[in-house]
């Protein structure tokens, strides 16, 4: 059975009509709309949605990719752990190619480290159960979409008494980063296209403080072309009426209150901590560290490894890209020293990274 309605969300005729409505809805200077989700970034590039909206709307890619915002220090800690004896590092595929200040996990693996790519954090728990003489460390990277799956794996490991499993957490929560960007006059955002799947967990209401405090329209939108275009139109209609509220275009998945069970699990396993975002700096209470009750599953405490702050390497403008201060081609390394085959920064590694999307699909017009 096909996925319900998905083709309808890709229909060309309503897309053309929505583009016309968007162009009619606004006559002022281009409205700067930031998306903070890598899947939006990729969809916008793949469906070529920027060019037809140019003039009315400027779509800016924000810190939407967990891989992109992970700082060098975390990669370095992961590489150091992987290089120890009797440790297996399990991670999502995107992470292995991200260069840290002392190379990537891929390079560590070539040098003999045991680095395995898993699809699910639960696979890492299974790996630990199958190899009881090794410590399996899962790299906990991601936003509110991924964090509950990591919490679920930790709870499962405890239930199954799998003691040689732990997580090095660099999990983060999105609304704090959005607030920082909203408050930064240099970034100049007029509205947010809020992340779809993060919102399935935290709920559309989570953006209300942002809309109210910074007077920014916030629309939770799905990933299909009609989702994105209708969300943009909703934003422009708010702007032209002088409104700033939360609207939910993605009601087929995201509810106002979100997934309470996932939220409860997050609150049980994690506690908020300050987190260092690549390009954005340390944002208070924007990270998730493993709570005391689950300390046995915290790789940092268990294995005595700390994530150090690392200076940004010269040349890479990922920080400015993540804040929407420059478009990817504005980085001097873009397409020259930095390509998907030879990434200098993470925004070129992840397929949903702004630089990779711009490289693959061309024009940002």
């Amino acid at each position: 059975m096909p996925i319900p309605h998905v083709d309808a969300y890709r229909a060309a005729a309503p897309a053309a009509a929505l583009i016309a409505r968007i162009r009619e809805a606004w006559s002022g200077p281009p409205v700067r709309i930031m998306e903070v989700c890598g899947t939006h970034t990729m969809a916008i590039a793949r469906h070529g949605l920027r060019a037809p909206l140019a003039g009315a709307v400027k779509l800016i890619s924000g810190p939407g990719c967990p891989v992109c915002v992970t700082p060098d220090g975390y990669i370095d800690a992961a590489v150091a752990l992987a290089s120890r004896a009797k440790i297996t590092l399990a991670t999502f595929g995107d992470m292995v190619r991200v260069p840290g200040s002392r190379g990537s996990l891929e390079q560590a693996r070539a040098a003999g480290a045991d680095v395995r790519i898993v699809y699910s954090p639960l696979d890492a728990v299974d790996l630990a159960a199958a190899e009881p003489d090794r410590e399996v460390v899962f790299l906990g990277v991601g936003f509110e979409t991924t964090a509950p799956t990591v919490a679920g794996a930790i709870v499962t490991a405890r239930q199954r008494n799998t003691r040689n499993f732990s997580v090095l957490s660099s999990l983060r929560t999105i609304p704090g980063a959005m607030a920082l960007l909203a408050a930064d006059p240099a970034v100049r955002i007029d509205a947010f296209l809020c992340p779809a799947n993060v919102s399935a967990i935290i709920g559309a209401d989570a953006y209300r403080p942002l809309a109210e405090r910074y007077l920014l329209p916030c629309v939770v939108g799905g990933f299909e072309p009609l989702d994105i275009l209708s969300s943009v139109l909703m934003i422009l209609r708010q702007k032209s009426r002088g409104e700033a509220r939360v609207e939910n275009e993605y009601a087929r998945v995201a509810t106002p209150g979100g997934n309470r069970r996932a939220q409860a699990l997050l609150a049980e396993v994690f506690e908020p901590c300050d987190a260092d975002w690549r390009g954005l700096g340390v944002l208070p209470a924007s990270g998730l560290r493993i709570a005391g009750g689950y300390a046995d599953f915290d790789a940092g405490r268990k294995l005595g490894i700390a994530v150090a702050a690392t200076p940004v390497r010269s040349g890479c403008r990922c920080g400015d890209v993540l804040k929407g201060m420059i478009d990817p081609p504005g980085c001097p390394l873009f397409g020259a020293a930095c390509t998907p085959a030879t990434p200098v920064g993470p925004c070129m590694v992840s397929t949903e990274g702004a630089c990779a999307a711009a490289f693959k699909y061309g024009s940002l017009a």
Partner: protein
């Protein structure tokens, strides 16, 4: 990395489900859902169903989109 994909539940045993993703089957956990039933459409991310996909809401949103596309801009 945050890619979540729609999948349909084929079988269910406690929190362990087998889901179909466009004809390909795989195991998934439904521990993050309050309730789940065979036949439900879910959004699958990293081996977990993170939320259900509501076909009625999908239809309502489409109707709203078509309305917006047809709307008189001068209203």
């Amino acid at each position: 990395m945050c890619l979540a994909i729609p999948a349909q539940i084929l079988t269910l045993e406690e929190t362990r489900a087998v889901v179909s993703i466009g004809g390909v089957t795989r195991e998934a956990s439904v521990m993050l859902l309050d309730s789940a039933a065979v036949g439900d459409w879910v959004l699958l991310h990293a081996g977990f169903a993170i939320e259900k996909l509501d076909p009625d809401e999908a239809e309502k949103t489409l109707a709203l989109i078509r309305e917006m596309a047809d709307a008189d801009p001068a209203r």
